[in-house]
């Protein structure tokens, strides 16, 4: 079993003979140990298994050290690389955009990490940033991708500090800009930041995008335009870290 304890969500993946038999995704909340147990329990129930049936549990994510029942811990960088390689073996670059950080990972033909870069301490380009902006715009987070596609005009968001960007968004609403245009502007601003980060590596294709933010079509499309190429998004991009953890058992 792989458990990925992120800052916003926690995931568990159970593998049997190399195949996913069940997974779970829950909000992490304030108690990471509780979240670890809850997502583990949910994944077990879905697979009709008991914890005793699990041969090994590997924890990853920022809360990896808070999983008392883990047999070992592996960083999310290695886990996303392994998970993306499993789902798309040709992948050479993984862009992971999670709740608290974003990273670009170069991998070899066996899914081993060759190099990586991560965002600095700033939250820009992460799920948390989008969550705050959705709050400021009073729109549902999951609607942001579709709304972005319906944008008619370009709006430039200059601030990438979460707090300052929030006030910029409020000012734009007050100035009469449409929410859809603002959302597209936010997606483009975030994507440019991640694109610049990717430039620090020798980025090779194909590219796979993982993490909860990969569910946002607006971000994926903005990145596709910047990269001038296809980005593979797994069916459930949020569990790739946990899958990589399970593969590390």
């Amino acid at each position: 079993m792989g458990i990925d304890i992120g800052s916003l969500s926690s995931e568990a993946v159970i593998l049997m003979d190399g195949q996913i038999v069940s997974y779970s995704i829950i909000p992490t909340g304030a108690d990471t140990q509780k979240a670890a147990r809850a997502c583990m329990q949910e994944a077990l129930e879905r697979a009709h298994l008991k914890f005793e049936d699990v041969s090994a549990t590997v924890a990853t994510g920022y809360g990896r050290i808070s999983v008392p029942f883990a047999t070992k811990t592996v960083t999310e960088i290695t886990c996303h690389a392994r998970g993306a390689h499993k789902l798309s073996p040709n992948t050479r670059t993984v862009i992971d955009m999670g709740g608290q950080d974003s990273k670009v990972i170069s991998i070899d033909t066996d899914g081993r990490v060759l190099d990586f870069v991560m965002n600095d301490k700033c939250a820009a380009g992460t799920g948390r940033f989008l969550e705050v902006m959705a709050g400021a715009l009073e729109v549902d987070l999951v609607e942001m991708g579709d709304r972005s596609a319906r944008a008619k005009n370009g709006v430039v968001i200059s601030s990438m500090c979460t707090v300052f960007a929030e006030s910029e968004v409020i000012s734009l609403i007050a100035a009469g800009c449409s929410k859809n245009d603002i959302i597209r502007g936010l997606h483009e601003a975030i994507s440019k930041r991640v694109f610049a980060m990717a430039g620090k590596l020798r980025m090779e294709r194909p590219v796979t995008m993982t993490g909860g933010v990969a569910k946002n079509k607006g971000i994926v499309d903005a990145l596709r335009r910047l990269l001038k190429g296809e980005i593979h998004v797994p069916e459930e991009p949020q569990i790739v870290g946990a899958l990589g953890a399970a593969l590390s058992a």
Partner: protein, 419 residues
């Protein structure tokens, strides 16, 4: 020994300091070390530091501040003891009090864009926690912020500042220009202090520097051993401090001999700094984070040892005691950090091979433009040699820019990458 430091520290060494809470923190920091079992070399460093502060506050002799890359041989040739605010800033960070000094500088409108070591230095200076300089000498090479900081300090204290203008190249004309600069500096020191540059004393200082250099080379040879007999973390703290402050002095020679003895003893017993050395690392850039942090504990917990650090690479040739200033000019221009990035890359690749490292960490203290600017070129060159390199962005003096969780993830992922 540490009892001695505590008693010296309070009433005599930095008497003025103890009027404030900041000084009490400094004293507490020094007291913490008393629980550590330290070597003779470490004791020599502490003695040097506190003697230097004591001498400065008592104004026993003219106080000369120099920047880290100013050759310490120059003040020693005038029988002056150099004081390096950058080293004191590292010490303040080590003791966990740099944030107070940095905050003091920021309250005085110094921009947060200024390197945190210099903000810390400004805070220490404004708080009168450093002996007032009579003369300041700095150089234009390697460190971008240094000459601005030292110029500013000369304005603050109303003393003269000599900036040694170091050329970019290292050809004959560049050397001739720098030699002229150093002669001009010698004249400047003579006029400001009334002291005379004596040929015999200058030759003696160069001779001492050469002998120290030889010991440093022998130490570095010992550090090639597997397992690593000495920690790169210590290499970048008190050893680098003495490297900057004491070349050309008897104390410097005594310090490096004591250090050599300690490392030799460990090496002969085959004793490494951790139980099982799985990975040998090279630390790139001159500094590390000096405030309390978990970086080296995390690495060592994963079986990774910083076997060597760029900062202590002996890059210069022996000097000619008959031509002290000419030799010092040659030494300064031979610094691999000067000129195009290829110089530095060549030196780093040589170090990587010599110390048989599995990987390297380039600590990019954002205030160090000259080093961070080339970090990715260094990384790419190392990668071509099959040596993975982590560019670790961070701050060497301002703990507010440190996040243990973020740092841990990068370090652990890097070690996982080494496999």
């Amino acid at each position: 020994m540490f009892e001695g430091i505590r008693t010296e520290l309070a009433p005599r060494v930095i008497k003025g300091l103890l009027r404030s809470g900041f000084a009490l923190e400094l004293a507490k920091g020094a007291a913490k070390w008393s629980s550590r079992k330290e070597s003779r070399a470490f004791k020599l460093w502490l003695d040097f530091l506190f003697d230097s502060m004591k001498g400065g506050f008592r104004r026993e002799r003219p106080v000369v501040w120099i920047s880290a890359f100013t050759p310490s041989e120059i003040p020693y040739a005038f029988n002056l003891d150099p004081m390096l605010p950058e080293v004191i800033a590292c010490l303040a960070a080590h003791m966990g009090v740099s944030d107070s000094a940095i905050s003091m500088a920021e309250q005085s409108l110094y921009s947060t864009d200024l390197c945190s070591f210099y903000r810390c230095g400004v805070g220490l200076a404004l708080g009168e926690y450093l002996p007032k300089p009579d003369l300041i000498i700095s150089t234009s090479h390697l460190c971008d912020g240094a000459h601005r900081f030292f110029h500013n300090m000369s304005q603050l204290f109303g003393c003269d500042h000599y900036l040694i203008d170091v050329p970019y190249g290292n050809g004959g004309r560049d050397r001739a220009y720098l030699v002229d600069e150093l002669y001009d500096l010698a004249d400047f020191i003579g006029k400001r202090t009334g002291l005379h540059l004596d040929d015999e004393r200058a030759a003696e200082v160069i001779e001492l520097s050469n002998r120290t250099r030889q010991v440093m080379l022998e130490i570095n040879e010992l550090r090639r051993r597997i397992p690593s007999p000495f920690s790169g973390s210590d290499g970048m703290s008190y050893v680098l401090g003495m490297n900057f402050c004491t070349l050309g002095s008897q104390l410097g020679l005594a310090f490096f001999r004591a250090l050599q003895g300690m490392i030799q003893e460990r090496a002969s017993r085959g004793k490494g700094i951790i139980g099982e050395e799985k990975y040998r690392l090279l630390w790139l850039h001159h500094i590390k984070p000096y405030y309390p942090n978990a970086i080296f504990d995390i690495l060592e917990g994963l079986g990774a040892v910083v076997s060597f650090e760029e900062a202590n690479h002996v890059y210069w040739d022996p000097m000619d005691p008959r031509h002290p200033l000419e030799s010092l000019a040659t030494k300064m221009l031979s610094n691999f950090g000067c000129g195009p990035i290829e110089h530095r890359i060549r030196a780093i690749l040589e170090m990587a091979g010599k110390y048989r490292v599995n990987g390297a960490i380039h600590f990019s203290h954002w205030g160090c433009r000259q080093s961070c600017g080339g970090s990715h070129m260094v990384r790419d060159a190392m990668r071509e040699r099959g040596i993975p390199t982590l560019v670790l962005d961070g701050d060497g003096a301002d703990v507010r820019n440190y996040s243990e969780g973020q740092t841990r993830t990068r370090l652990e992922a890097f070690i996982e990458m080494l496999g």
